[in-house]
Amino acid sequence: MSKSYELFIGPNHPGIPGNFSLKIELEGDTVISAKGDPGYLHRAFEKAMEGRYYIQNLALIPRICVPEPDINEAAYAMAVEDLMGVEIPERAKYIRTIVLELARAANYTFWMGGFAGTLGLYTLAQWSFGDRDYALDLFAEICGARVYHMYIWPGGVRRDLPPGWEDKLLGYVKYMKERLIDYDNIFFKNVMFKYRTKGIAVVTKEQAIEWGATGPILKAAGVAQDVRKDDPYAAYEYLDFEIPTLTDGDSWSRAMIRRWELENSLNIIEQAVKKMPKKGPVWEKMPNPLKWYVPEGETYAKVESARGEHGFYMVSDGTGKPYRVAVRGASHTHMFTIAEKVLIGQRLADVSHILVSLDVCPPEIDR
């Protein structure tokens, strides 16, 4: 009879994607049960938002998800616009699309580094973190901050694009496309990557649907579900793109989906820049922030984040502050419903890369 033992991973652990901990039970080096322990990043966003004016929440929302803050801004803005019945200007829609896709691309680049890191292939980490930095500099030029942009706000976007920014953006897209070949060579076509990830942590199509997976996990299992296609927001309905799917549902497929989506994002950016109206308003005038009373009602606004469906359920009671905002982060389901089940039967050495492969983002779980 072999004896099982318990192991705590995190919150201080290099294999944990953020401040999060995991209690796993092992037999030998095989996981027999796993239990997540969140709350290390709990900042009480939902409570804090109830106490602030609609515009003041602009400072809070990007902080819900650190690697990709713009989805929060977009979903929040869409929820407020929906309650107020505001239609945003055409150019703003395209700018939002560009910003969201750039953020998605930056997030996948960042994710690749982390993922390669957990597999011990640090070169890609060095490259991709460095390349993401150029995207952050692009963000700084449109809105003045590298990480927390606070650029998308209800009614449109906060400033028009600075002159010459589109060219810089297209330059970055071109650069990234060239770099992707190198990324492929060093990582995605690397046999080491294949051996470490093929057949690991399989989420089948049935399981993915049953467990409520969204985003790359679902796509890797063969279901083409994407908010950008199913319920188009911003300018996605005018753009031409495909939802990539694979069938295996293992760690390898998920990584490939993200690699694919990155390329997709770069293509969408190119298209959007080409199709965007060159002039025009970028913001629909909103009321004085201190007297910004949003009509009573409830709404659910969702966007596609790098991890899956990201949504804001917003309730207004007709005053200047939201009555209740509930945030749906894709990681919430991915961590507890999926990772806890998928980890069972895996090797200890794979635990950290499985967590990254499911792209668990703790700030979005804890909020």
């Binding site: 969140p38 106490g51 467990w211 409520g212 199913d230 945030v327």
Partner: protein, 160 residues
């Protein structure tokens, strides 16, 4: 769209409101929630996006909502129900939607709602050593709690 609405209307005891294209509100009484959710899943709402609570303190009720999604019809349906604020108890939906399990853990911690059938209900989840009112309730004052438990660095400016 309309045939789905008709199908949902066929479920016993529901009140259906179509808010806009692709969004339906389904209001049910407390005792019919689980059967409604079950029927909704049969109709094709396979995914639970979010389940959470709104504290309607004026009506002395908790509003529980389940945002469901159907890929097939591309419709969000929001199932809502209301329970009393005193000794609140709901039944678990994790047999129908496994992801409800975690949302219910969060609800039970943040609102102090007991979830029947969920073995993790009532156990600490996000918070640790929490002794005050469940924090997401409207009668919990976060600013007051912060100033009682933490010390602010004093800034000397005048705040009229």
């Amino acid at each position: 769209m309309m045939d789905i609405v008709d199908k949902i209307k066929g479920i016993e005891g529901v009140k259906v409101t179509v808010q806009r294209e692709n969004r339906i509100f389904v209001d049910v009484s407390e005792d019919k929630v689980i059967s409604t959710l079950y029927n909704m899943k049969l109709i094709g709402f396979h995914q639970l996006s979010v389940q959470n609570v709104i504290d309607r303190i004026k009506d002395n009720k908790f509003e529980i909502f389940y945002v469901l999604y159907s890929r097939e019809y591309k419709i969000n349906a929001i199932v809502r129900t209301w329970i009393d604020r005193e000794n609140p108890v709901i039944k678990t939906a994790d047999k129908i939607y496994p992801s409800a399990h975690t949302w219910e853990r969060e609800i039970s911690e943040m609102f102090g709602i007991k979830v029947d059938g969920n073995e993790d209900s009532g156990k600490p989840f996000i918070l640790e050593n929490w002794k005050d009112l469940p924090p997401m309730r409207k009668d919990f004052d976060s600013v007051k709690y912060s100033s009682e438990h933490f010390v602010f660095r004093h800034s000397e400016g005048e705040n009229e």
